[in-house]
Every structure is written in structure tokens, then in C-alpha cells.
């Protein structure tokens, strides 16, 4: 059959290295090599606790996830050291396309799924934003990145969208790739629409199965885990929930700001 009896079970892998990216974010390298498309994600299982999706911030020989400490699950993950084991299944979802002459716009932790994309693209223009200097992730990993901080403690003071607008005045891009807080991605998409430029955004929703059967991560009729998490302009135009609504664990649809608050618990 098309997807013949494909098992989707977690496999226990060793943490081989933990990198402290900043006081709030750590990168966990794992013993399993995962060849994934930039933008794909894995489900991470902490036995007896819970399971959650994380995009791969490194793939291939050095595979890793990059995690911000936010709630109970990431709390427990932050207690883990080299040699400890976590469960992994995947990779899941589609991924970003790899277009030449691209611009990459990353906000906060949203840089994680974009990192392997940036490394695979030829000289993309990178715009990376963070709240402040001590929140920047992967410092020095992307040569020539345009850094912005909300408080001006590093790079340009202001938002990634300001830099994007300015760049679009003087440069031409085929595609703008983006990941970050959904309100930011929505603004990036709107700017792209105004300039008639293709956009690809990686969405985040609460997930269960990760392989397209339960429907939990639904956004306007699309499954973020299977039809996404990366959506191109054509789809983004049809996703009414984009930037507006997301579902809680019960399936209740709420304002995206309420969803974001709930996810931090």
C-alpha cells in the first residue's frame, strides 16, 4: 500500500552534546542521524511525561533540536545531560523549498527550523530578530546576518519587518522564508503580498499524532503536521486561522494570543 504499515514509534536515542545557546535556549545533539528537509520536525518523547514536536536545528551527521525553556516538558528536558536518552520519532511534515535569491526572516526561536535552510541556500539575506542581546540564538552561525533586537542591545533596534521592508526597497528576492511568533510571520506575509513576492512560513500548532490522522493541529482545514508545517503563499492566503486562531488541547479554537499564553504553561 501507499504507506505500507509504516510504524510511527519513538526510538530512544542518546543526547551526545548540550550547547547553551543563551540563558533560555539549549541545543541537544542526538546520537541518531536524521536526514531531513529544512523545516521538518520530530516528536520528542520523555517517557512517562509527555511528547512534543520540535523542528530540527541541525540535520544529517550532527542532528539536533534547539529548545527554549517554557513549561513542564522543556523544564524536564533542560535537566538532561550528555548520555541521557530521549525518544524520537519522525521526521515529519514537508519542508521549505530551496529557492535561489532568497531572504530568510527569523524571529526568536523561529530561527531553529530556518537554520539548516540558511546553510543549504546560496548566500541568502538573513534577517534575525530577538527581544534583546541575551536572547540571540546561533550567534556567528550565519555569516553577514542582519540582527535586530527589540531593545537595541545588539544590531539594529527595532523589528525584523522594518529591515525586510527596507531591503525590499533596494533588493529583489525570489522568496521570503520565515518562522517566528505568528503575529510576526503574518506581518512578513502581508509585506510579501504587497510586494508580490513568494513567502513560505512555518506554522506551529498543538500536535498529537504528527502524521496526519488525528486532526488536532488543523488550521482552516489543513493539517499543520502533514500538509505543513511549511505553507507557501497560495495556501497561506486560504488559511483564515493564520495569525488569528489556534486550537487548545481540547480542540477549542481560541485567539492566537490566548493560545500562545497557554503554550507557555
Amino acid at each position: 500500500m501507499d504507506n505500507c504499515k509504516k510504524p510511527e514509534l519513538p526510538e530512544m536515542v542518546k543526547i551526545t552534546k548540550v550547547v547553551y545557546e543563551n540563558p533560555y535556549v539549549r541545543t541537544f545533539f542526538i546520537s541518531r542521524k536524521i536526514d531531513a528537509q529544512p523545516g521538518q520536525f520530530v516528536m520528542v518523547w520523555l517517557p512517562g511525561l509527555d511528547e512534543k514536536p520540535f523542528s530540527l536545528s541541525y540535520a544529517g551527521n550532527k542532528t539536533a533540536i534547539t529548545v527554549e525553556e517554557k513549561g513542564k516538558f522543556t523544564n524536564a528536558l533542560f535537566k538532561m545531560k550528555t548520555g541521557d536518552k530521549i525518544g524520537i520519532r519522525g521526521p515529519y511534515g514537508n519542508g521549505f523549498t530551496l529557492k535561489a535569491d532568497a531572504c530568510v526572516v527569523a524571529g526568536g526561536c523561529g530561527v531553529a527550523p530556518l537554520a539548516t535552510l540558511i546553510e543549504r541556500l546560496k548566500n541568502p539575506l538573513v534577517i534575525q530578530g530577538a527581544r534583546s542581546r541575551d536572547r540571540i540564538i546561533f550567534k556567528g552561525r550565519f555569516k553577514g546576518a542582519n540582527i535586530t533586537t527589540d531593545d537595541g542591545t545588539e544590531g539594529k533596534k527595532g523589528f525584523v519587518t522594518d529591515v525586510l521592508e527596507a531591503q525590499l526597497m533596494k533588493n529583489k528576492f525570489s522568496t521570503v522564508y520565515t518562522c517566528g511568533p505568528e503575529a510576526m510571520m503574518k506581518r512578513v506575509f502581508e509585506i510579501c503580498e504587497r510586494h508580490g513576492i513568494e513567502c513560505e512560513a512555518s506554522l506551529e500548532r498543538f500536535m498529537k499524532c504528527g502524521f496526519g490522522v488525528c486532526g488536532q493541529c488543523e488550521a482552516s482545514g489543513l493539517r499543520v503536521c502533514k500538509d505543513g508545517p511549511v505553507f507557501q503563499s497560495e495556501k497561506l492566503r486560504t488559511i483564515k486561522d493564520f495569525g488569528s486562531f489556534a486550537r487548545l488541547k481540547s480542540g477549542e479554537k481560541v485567539a492566537i494570543s490566548d493560545y500562545a499564553r497557554w503554550r507557555c504553561q
Binding site: L9, G48, C214, E218, S250
Partner: protein
């Protein structure tokens, strides 16, 4: 080939129905399933109050099927009224699925959803992984089945389908109790078990609830036998559900006694367009074997 059929007086473009619990969380997603060829769709079960369900992992796949312990997460009856407004325009019948811890809760959910454009109400008395509901609450006995069916029927004019458990002893007796109490159809079957998968490297059961309902290929022969037994016991139609992934599986389920076919786990094996695929395979098989109508197939394996 024309696959049109009728189930309890409800006209279906084809007999392949989305089973409850798969994809049915929103009107928009139901619309996608219908676009992918489903003859009817069933929503994910709704309880009176919102439920978060069990912890992840809640749905996993193993080499012979799927196992889930979602734990009836749903936004509750009030939110469901908003989510499932305007169903007529979807272009295919939509079946409600309602749950309760006792007959009066079933009644209240049926009442709450009464003004929506559902074509039938399914009541699963057979979930194997949610304390307070289904088999874990003993709702699968003939007595409880009779009590709950009677309560729901009082609150609705719609046909009521009763979804049975494959682990129930003498499933024909439960089906007969449902029929006598006024049910219009039997959905057979729910997931079986509960089963358990342990990750030996973690020394822990994988599912958050530790155990869960088994569906997919592992369930199919059990489901076929259940439908066969039920067909011998009742006159009302059967929606044969459990491991159907191909047109041949669907024909097999019909020969056991099914009038319509429920499909769920096969979305994993063959994609969202599994409904279209099953339909075209059924019609191909019927053409090659000289069948023109489903009533020549339903129950053909009996006698």
C-alpha cells in the same frame, strides 16, 4: 459505476464514511475529507463539557495497525455548536458523535446539538481507553445500551447509530438490545483492546495513558467477524468499521453484512484521498465480477 446508496433513509453518494475520531475536529477538515471522496463523515465525539484528553503520545502506529488513547479530547457541546454550524453546504451528510458518562449526559449533549444540520447521531458505547466512558464504564452491556439508546431517542428525531466494541462478549445480544431500544443502525466496531506497547529501551509503555485502542489491519479480521455475528442478530443496517483500507476490504466487510463502510486508520496508510481510492477499487471489482448493486453483496457470505 454508480455507488449511490442509502443508509436509514439518508442518501449517500457512496457507502464509504469517515469514522469518528479521525480528522473530524472541524467543519473545514470535514469539508476536506468530503472533497477527498467520503460519502459521509462523522465528527470527533463531543461531550457536555470540554475535555483535554490524555497526555501524549496519544496516537502511534505499529507494524500491524494504529493504537490510540486520545481520551476523548473535545471542546464541549457549546463550542461544538459554533464549530459545526452550517453543515448542509458541505455537500455530504455529517453524523454527530456524542458521549456521556450516563444516560442523562447523553441526553443533554443530544439536546445541545439538536438544531445543527447533522443527518444522524452516533453513540459510541465502546471506547476502550477513557475512564468513565465506553467499555471502561460498562456501557457495552445490553442493559446499559438499552437505557442510553432510549434516552437519546427521546431527544432527537434523527436516526441513532450505536457503535459497539469488538471485545464485548455476545456482540449480537448488544446489537439486538440496541435495535429493540430503537437504534436505526449499528456501527461495528470501535477500536479493540485496550492493548499496550512498551518501549524496552525506556522500560515504559509508549502511550501517555499506557494502554490504547487498536485499529487498522490488526483489527480487520475481528471486525469482520463482529459484523458477521451482528448481521445474524439484527435487521437494522450495519456500518462496518475496522481496518478497511482497500476496495477489496470494503467488499469483504459488505459480504460480512455491512451496508456502509467506516474508514479511519487507512488515512495513515493511503492518505486523505483513501476514500476516493476505495470507491474506485470497489467499483472496479464490482464491474469485473458482474455486480451492479450493493444489496447483491451485503451479507453474501452468509448461509
Amino acid at each position: 459505476m454508480n455507488l449511490e446508496t442509502s443508509l436509514c433513509g439518508i442518501k449517500l453518494a457512496n457507502p464509504v464514511i469517515l469514522a469518528s475520531g479521525i480528522l473530524g475536529v472541524s467543519r473545514a477538515l470535514l469539508s476536506e475529507v468530503i472533497r477527498n471522496g467520503a460519502g459521509a463523515v462523522t465528527i470527533k465525539s463531543i461531550s457536555l463539557e470540554a475535555r483535554e484528553g490524555h497526555k501524549n503520545p496519544t496516537v502511534i502506529a505499529f507494524d500491524a495497525g494504529l493504537m490510540n488513547a486520545v481520551g476523548y479530547s473535545n471542546p464541549g457541546a457549546a463550542a461544538a455548536k459554533k464549530e459545526f454550524a452550517g453543515l448542509k453546504s458541505l455537500g455530504a451528510p455529517v453524523f454527530a458523535s456524542i458521549i456521556g458518562q450516563d444516560a442523562s449526559e447523553f441526553e443533554k449533549v443530544a439536546e445541545a446539538l439538536a438544531n445543527l444540520e447533522f443527518s444522524a447521531i452516533e453513540i459510541p458505547l465502546s471506547c476502550p481507553h477513557t475512564p468513565g466512558f465506553g467499555t471502561l464504564a460498562g456501557q457495552d452491556t445490553p442493559e446499559k445500551t438499552r437505557e442510553i439508546v432510549r434516552a437519546v431517542i427521546k431527544k432527537t428525531k434523527l436516526p441513532v447509530f450505536v457503535k459497539l466494541s469488538p471485545i464485548t462478549r455476545n456482540i449480537g445480544d448488544v446489537a439486538r438490545a440496541a435495535e429493540k431500544a430503537g437504534a436505526s443502525a449499528i456501527t461495528a466496531v470501535n477500536t479493540m483492546g485496550p492493548g499496550m506497547i512498551i518501549n524496552i529501551d525506556a522500560k515504559k509503555p509508549v502511550l501517555g495513558f499506557r494502554m490504547g485502542g487498536v485499529s487498522g489491519p490488526a483489527l480487520k479480521p475481528v471486525a469482520i467477524r463482529c459484523v458477521y455475528d451482528i448481521y445474524e442478530s439484527v435487521k437494522i443496517p450495519i456500518i462496518g468499521t475496522g481496518g478497511v483500507a482497500t476496495g477489496r476490504d470494503a467488499i469483504e466487510m459488505m459480504m460480512a453484512g455491512a451496508t456502509a463502510i467506516g474508514v479511519g486508520s487507512a488515512v495513515h496508510y493511503r492518505g486523505m484521498d483513501v476514500f476516493k481510492k476505495i470507491c474506485s477499487e470497489m467499483s472496479e471489482w464490482m464491474y469485473e465480477n458482474g455486480y451492479e448493486r450493493f444489496d447483491e453483496i451485503t451479507g453474501a457470505a452468509h448461509g
